[in-house]
């Protein structure tokens, strides 16, 4: 790999041991993928925001950087908080939360605390090079916004944010952004999250190109989040909708090499047979936008929910939602309106309470979770008809 003189100097330790190791990390990481150089990034996004007591290595590295006075070189946002104040168990599980947040603040993080950073806090443009973590944000930035980032791990995200650099390989390069699998749809009632889960399972780490559908922004968010959890999809295209797929020919740069087909039957097979066989209903993974929460809230027309129900919103969206009458309506119905990550917040829930969710990403991570469509979930919690 060829380094600029300034990068060599950092590697030699002229800006401290922490910065030297951050640079070394990026160089070794890049070399493993044949990167020839480090390139500047426009922004960072960090996934390591849960102060779980067992991740001592992560905290020690952040503390070393803070002690040496290091700051993020580019605007850098961060993932949701884990709901550390939700109950006593979470206070213990996430006992490092305040220490972690203090360190991130010292490094200069933008405290958006949402996985949906691309809605408002950190919106890249087409062609921008990034070094983000958070699989769902990575795929949205690549696929829907046409920015360029690899699937970077926690700590790689930090090393890139402090140096302002990322090794040039993978999804930064044109040749890795072309479609690899055509996804044909035979679906009457679209459920984008379930579709994302199925595509993730089937294509694993390939670049899928989905036949044209007019997916909404919210559907793209929830479908992509599922694809990046059930699979390792960093980039997908939708024919005639996403920026790098005006038509199939340009998305594939020729003819599709392979194709798969997803049917209504496949989507329906994801759903729990009886949504009432659940103890808790969760919406918002990735976190909900104001529009998404408002749409759902309109369905809560009855007096009380039948079982505990949780909305998880982008913190900024939650503030705006709370200023609306709809928020009062769902809260009076007994819905808990939160701005944390539901997966982290419910990981240590007491007993074997079965969670029903319309998030196929949540399904991948939260033990004891079953899946239903948004309507299944609304039926289970007794909202409207």
């Amino acid at each position: 790999m060829r380094l600029e003189p300034e990068q060599e100097a950092i590697l030699r330790g002229e800006r401290g041991r922490g910065m030297a190791k951050a640079m070394e990390t990026l160089v070794v990481y890049g070399k493993a993928f044949g990167a020839r150089r480090l390139v500047p990034i426009r922004s960072g996004h960090l996934a390591g925001t849960f102060g779980i007591l067992s991740y001592k290595g992560y905290y020690s590295i952040l503390e070393q950087l803070v002690a040496e006075g290091v700051k993020f070189k580019v605007p850098t946002t961060a993932n949701p908080r884990p709901g550390q104040k939700l109950n006593l168990l979470n206070r213990v599980l996430f006992s490092h939360q305040s220490r972690l947040e203090a360190n991130l603040a010292s490094l200069g993080v933008i405290p958006n605390y949402s996985c949906v950073c691309y809605e408002q806090a950190n919106v890249p443009g087409r062609g921008d090079v990034l070094a983000w973590a958070e699989s769902s944000a990575v795929q949205f930035a690549n696929s829907v916004l046409g920015a360029r980032t690899n699937r970077n791990s926690i700590l790689i995200d930090v090393c890139s944010a402090v140096t302002g650099l990322t090794p040039e390989f993978g999804y930064l390069l044109d040749e890795h952004r072309r479609g690899q699998v055509l996804v044909r749809l035979d679906i009457e009632r679209m459920d984008a999250a379930a579709l994302g889960f199925i595509i993730g399972r089937r294509v694993v780490d390939k670049v899928p190109v989905i036949e044209h559908r007019d997916f909404s922004w919210i559907e793209l968010k929830n479908m992509g989040g599922a694809m990046a959890a059930a699979g390792a999809v960093a980039l997908f295209h939708v024919e005639g909708l996403t920026p790098e797929a005006p038509d199939l020919k340009s998305a594939f740069d020729g003819a599709p090499p392979t194709a798969i087909s997803v049917s209504q039957k496949d989507l329906d097979a994801m759903r729990i047979k009886d949504p009432d066989q659940s103890d808790l209903v969760v919406f918002g993974c990735p976190q909900m936008t104001l529009e998404e929460a408002s749409q759902l809230a309109q369905r809560f027309t009855r007096a009380k929910v039948k079982k505990p129900t949780m909305f998880c919103l982008i913190p900024e969206a939650k503030k705006r939602f709370e200023a609306t009458d709809l928020c009062g309506q769902v809260q009076r119905a007994g819905v808990r309106v939160a701005d944390c990550c539901p997966v982290a917040a419910l990981a240590a829930r007491v007993g074997k309470r079965r969670v029903l969710t319309s998030s196929a990403k949540c399904l991948c991570y939260l033990a004891g979770t079953v899946y239903g469509t948004v309507d299944d979930c609304l039926q289970a919690c007794g909202a409207g008809s």
Binding site: A32, Y55, L155, Y365
Partner: protein, 152 residues
């Protein structure tokens, strides 16, 4: 004994009993459940969606197709390795950015390496069977498969 060669991705040398799966692994879903907080269950796979549920990766040569899911992966692997509870070596069909990050982070920040060798063909799962004793060289990419260990 058979010997074959893959692509060396991350340097180092490791040996152990093969833990083999044809299902991609989501390391975050597998290794960040409340059970994994217990020091002796750090490396235990707790993903109900995975066929290795209940197996422990510590000291094994982990043989699998690919990493999927969350970008926690690198930190999770780094932490395991820094505590000496990670796999002894990794043989994977597709070495992605997250798996490699874990090995790189452990080496740079904690001087704890784990060799990673990539071998794409599907006959990987005929060459290495569960419980085989495997030696992996992350410099040359050489993989040696010996006889099954007696304590399988």
């Amino acid at each position: 004994m058979t010997t074959f060669k893959g692509t060396a991705i991350v340097a180092g040398r490791g040996a152990g009993k093969a833990l083999v799966t044809r299902t991609p692994i989501n390391f975050t879903a597998a290794l960040t459940k409340p059970h994994n907080l217990l020091p002796w269950r750090r490396g235990e796979i707790r993903d109900r969606h995975h066929d290795l549920f209940g197996s422990n990766v510590a000291g094994t040569v982990l043989v699998f197709p690919a990493c999927v899911g969350s970008t926690f992966t690198g930190m999770v692997l780094m932490q395991l390795m820094s505590e000496g509870k990670g796999p002894a070596a990794i043989v994977v069909q597709s070495a992605d950015s997250l798996l490699v990050s874990g090995a790189v982070l452990a080496r740079v920040w904690f001087s704890k390496g784990v060799p990673v060798v990539e071998y794409q063909p599907d006959d990987l799962f005929e060459k290495i069977r569960p419980g085989d004793h495997v030696v992996v060289d992350g410099e040359s990419g050489e993989i040696r498969v010996g006889m099954e260990l007696a304590d399988r």
